[in-house]
Amino acid sequence: MDFSQIIPSMPGLVDGMLMTLKLLALSVVGGVALGTVLALLRLSSNPLLSGFAKAYVNYFRSIPLLLVITWFYLAVPMLLNWITGTFVSVGAFTSCLVAFMMFEAAYYCEIVRAGIQSIAKGQENAAYALGMSYGQAMRLIILPQAFRKMMPLLLQQSIILFQDTSLVYAVGLMDFLNAARSKGDIVGLPHEFLIFAGAVYFVISFGASLSVKRLQKRFAV
C-alpha cells in the first residue's frame, strides 16, 4: 500500500468532492422543497391531490435509485427535446440532479408529513381562530414547529443521500468516487485510491451522524 501518490492527485480529488457536495446541496434543497409540497398535498382533504402524492411516494419508494438515475439520464434530454422542439444538451449533472430531487422528495415527503402530523391539532385551530388563512397557518405556525422537530431525521436522510450521490458513477459524472477511481487508474494504484475514497466518505458520514445525534439531544424537549 502506497498512499504517497494521493497528495499530488489532490486537485482532481478536491474537484470531485466539490462536485459531490454541489450535487448534495442542490438535491437536498430541491428534495426538501418538493417533499414539503408533496406532504401538504398528501395531507390535503382533496382526495385527488392526496391520492396523487401517495402514488408519487409509493412509486419512487418501490424502485431503485440507480434505475431512476439511469432512466433520467436517457429520458431528460429527450423529454426536453419534445417540449422545446429543439435539441438541448443537458449533461449528466442536470439529469442526475433532477433524478435525486424527485427521488429524495418521496422520502423527505414522508418525514415532513410525520412532522406536520406530530404538531398538536390545537395549533392549527388556534391559527384559524385568529383569522389566518391556510397558507399563513402553515407558513407561520405549523411548518416552523414541524421543521424544528424533524430536523434530525431530515439530516439523517441527507447523510444517506450524501452516500448515494456516489451512484452517479453509473452515468460517468466526475463526483468524488469517480475522480478517485480514475486518478487511481492513471497512477496505477487503484486499491489505495479506493481505500482513501472509502475513508473520506466514512469520516464525513460518521462525523455528520455524530453531530446529528448531539443536535437531537439538544433539540429534545
Binding site: 440507480l66 434505475l67 458513477y169 466518505y201 466514512f202
Partner: protein, 247 residues
Amino acid sequence: MNYNWDWNVFFKSTGIGSEIYLDWFVSGLGWTIAVALVAWIVALGVGSVLGVMRTLPNKLLSGVATAYVELFRNVPLLVQLFIWYFMVPDYLPESAQVWFKQELNPATSAYISVVVCLALFTAARVCEQVRTGIQALPKGQSAAALAVGFTLPQMYRHVLLPQAFRIIIPPLTSEFLNIFKNSSVASLIGLMELLAQTKQTAEFTANMFEAFTLATLIYFVLNMSLMTFMSWVEKKVRIPGMMGGAK
C-alpha cells in the same frame, strides 16, 4: 424528434437464437432475486448475531459489533462493492486468485462479490433492528429468565429473540425490500440483473421508455408482493393477546 412507440418490442426477436426481449427481463429478474434472497439470508444470520452481541454485557463483544455497524453504515454501498469486487480478490492466496479471476465464469465471480457485499452491508442494518427489538422488551423479561435459572444463551433463545423478532418484522420488511433495490448496483460490475438487462434492451431497440416502464413495473410488483408476503408472515406468527393483536 421522432420516437416510435412500440409496446410489442418485448416480443420481438433479439437476434440471438430464438430469444425475445422479454426473455432478457425474465433472466434479469431471476438474477435480481438470486442476489437478493441469498444475500438476505446471510444478512439475517450475521445481523442477528451482531445484534445480540450489541446487547451483551461483555464490553469487547458489543464494541466489535458497534464498530462493524458504524463502518458498514458510513461507507457508500458502491465503494464497498468496488472493494469486494476489484480489491479483495487481489489479496486472496495465489490458488484462490486464479480460481476467482480465471476459472470462474465472470458472471459467477461478479455474483459472489455482490452477494458478499450486500449481505455484509445489510447485516449492519439488520443488527440495529435486532438490537432495537431486544432493547424494546421490558427489563422484567430478561430478569425473570435469569431468575428461573436460564443461562444467557437460553435466555436469548427462548425468551428475548422470539419476542424481539416479532416486534421488528415491519422494519425488517423494509430492509428486505431495500436489498432487492440495492441489488441493482450489480449492474455496475457487469452482472446482467434486471437493471442491466433493461439498459441493454433500451440500447438494442431504442425503445427506452417501454423498457424502463416494464422494469419499473416489475420492481413495483416485486415490492408489493414481498410486502404482502411479509404482512402475512407478521399475522401468522403473531402471539394472540400480544402486540397490537387486539382482535
